[in-house]
């Protein structure tokens, strides 16, 4: 087995509780940390896992009995959707407007499919559920979309590596994610599966795009939108100073925003500590 080119960040005396849950056809991992953790940490992870499966029941387009399937089939209307499904679709509509139609869950064949938003959105809620139980240092990694709360070790915000598009064990960049989320999109894992709503083809502008910001669902959606639209997507961030992007095209990369500035991040976390 090849050795990863990166090391696991030190716990610096903290302990951790981890879990990997198979759901949505992928795996979601949990990492809860602190100076000490009691049995409640595991219980709170279990609670968050229950939520992930609930999300599957609401939003899976593979389930014949899910509300989203009923909506896609025209058997039920938007008004007949559970409130949480309506909220997600409303958020998707906001992101469709923000990206001028580049992120468009309504453009795919077979009816609306919000799964480009749901994964990051659900990771956020899962992390917040654990925080609400009193475990403030949490990261939930929903198959590459990571929601981070608190710290990974005393005084150190979560540091998340961005995977090399070609080499699965190599990291091309790290980002400090402080009470926010990071999402990466690209077609290197599952082949051409992203549709460009404008051209109706699978020609992508970028190899990979990573977005960091305060909202997991939005990060998830924008990462995909960046892959479609390319660097012009930074215009979506006008008026959104908390957002950052790391974009890869072939052998080149560029980044934008505060998440990749270690000074800004450390200042931010120090301020939070006081």
């Amino acid at each position: 087995m090849n050795q990863p080119s990166v090391k696991l960040a030190s716990l610096d005396g903290w302990v951790r509780e981890t879990h990997a849950e198979e759901v949505w056809g992928t795996v979601v991992t949990f990492d809860v940390r602190g100076a000490e953790l009691d049995a409640g940490a595991r219980e709170s992870i279990n609670e968050a896992v229950g939520f992930l499966h609930q999300v599957d029941e609401w939003f899976s387009t593979y389930r014949v009995d899910s509300p989203i399937t009923a909506l896609r089939n025209g058997l039920r209307s938007f008004e007949q959707m559970p409130e949480i499904v309506q909220q997600v679709l409303d958020n998707c509509e906001y992101l469709r407007e923000l990206t001028h139609g580049v992120f468009d869950p309504w453009s795919v064949e077979g009816g609306v499919d919000p799964s480009g938003y749901v994964k990051g959105w659900a990771a956020d809620i899962a992390a917040d559920l654990i925080v609400a139980n009193g475990y403030s240092n949490v990261s939930v990694n929903a198959a590459g979309d990571v929601s981070c709360r608190g710290f990974q070790s005393p005084d150190t915000p979560w540091v998340v590596g961005i995977r090399h598009p070609e080499h699965a064990l190599e990291v091309i960049k790290t980002a400090s994610v402080f009470n926010g989320a990071i999402a990466t999109s690209g077609e290197y894992e599952r082949g051409a599966h992203i549709l460009n709503p404008r051209t109706k083809n699978h020609n992508m502008a970028l190899t990979s795009a990573t977005v960091v910001g305060p909202d997991g669902g939005m990060a998830d959606a924008l990462a995909t939108a960046f892959v479609i639209a390319g660097a012009e997507g930074v215009n979506w961030f006008a008026g959104l100073p908390q957002w950052s992007a790391y974009l890869v095209q072939g052998e080149s990369a560029q980044f934008f925003g505060p998440a990749f500035d270690t000074d800004l991040v450390s200042q931010q976390s120090q301020g939070e500590n006081k």
């Binding site: 080119s5 960040a9 590459g144 560029q254």
Partner: protein, 202 residues
């Protein structure tokens, strides 16, 4: 474009990843002499539409505190290249910042991270720019201060890190807690780095 860039992008020597914050800066100096090949990032800093830099409006916290305002707002290369001895006092708190040693020469800038301001006119406002120099060439560029609300367009269409392999190499010493990547299947997870990170230490 190059000469315009060199006039407007004024660099304060400081380590981006160092101990100090971006507020610890020494002298302001022009990083790019006009003869210095820098076209690779010119477009990223200088939208064609901007022509009249607005002095003294930079939102960059780095430049406003230590570098003399007159130096940061001037568009004359000669003024920006001259080191300001009084401002080096603050830099002494940060051993990695050696502003006086990075004076621009014919051979180009010294390796390290630099923060400066690129002044833009009109709707573009002011944007703080950070670059990383390695082997005398720019290997990375960042725009850490996001645009103001009224900005209509941002242009960073130039690819700034020409070799992704080099970026991967530089991350080899990184200590990470998690990994962000494109969505993988359940099957692919087993051989993923994230799988190793989750299991590590158990």
């Amino acid at each position: 474009m190059n000469s315009r860039l060199s006039r407007r992008m004024l660099i304060a020597g400081g380590a981006l990843a160092g101990l100090g914050s971006t507020m610890s800066f020494g002298s302001a100096q022009a990083l790019f002499p006009s003869e210095n090949p820098g076209s690779g990032i010119t477009d990223s800093l200088e939208p064609a539409a901007s022509s009249t830099p607005t002095a003294g409006q930079t939102s960059a916290p780095a430049a406003t505190t230590t570098a003399a305002p007159s130096a940061t707002s001037t568009s004359a290369p000669s003024a920006s290249a001259s080191a300001n001895p009084t401002s080096t006092k603050k830099a002494t708190t940060k051993p990695t910042a050696k502003p006086t040693a990075t004076a621009t020469t014919a051979t180009g800038p010294k390796d390290g991270d630099y923060t400066g301001t690129a002044k833009r006119a009109g709707v573009y406002g002011n944007v703080q720019v950070q670059i990383r120099v390695s082997g005398g060439v720019i290997t990375a560029i960042a725009v850490p201060v996001a645009p103001s609300k009224d900005q209509e367009s941002i242009d960073i269409n130039t690819w700034a890190i020409p070799d992704l392999k080099a970026a991967a190499l530089s991350s080899q010493s990184a200590n990470i807690a998690s990994l962000s990547g494109a969505t993988y299947t359940s099957r692919a997870f087993a051989s993923s780095l994230q799988s190793a990170l989750t299991a590590a230490g158990l």
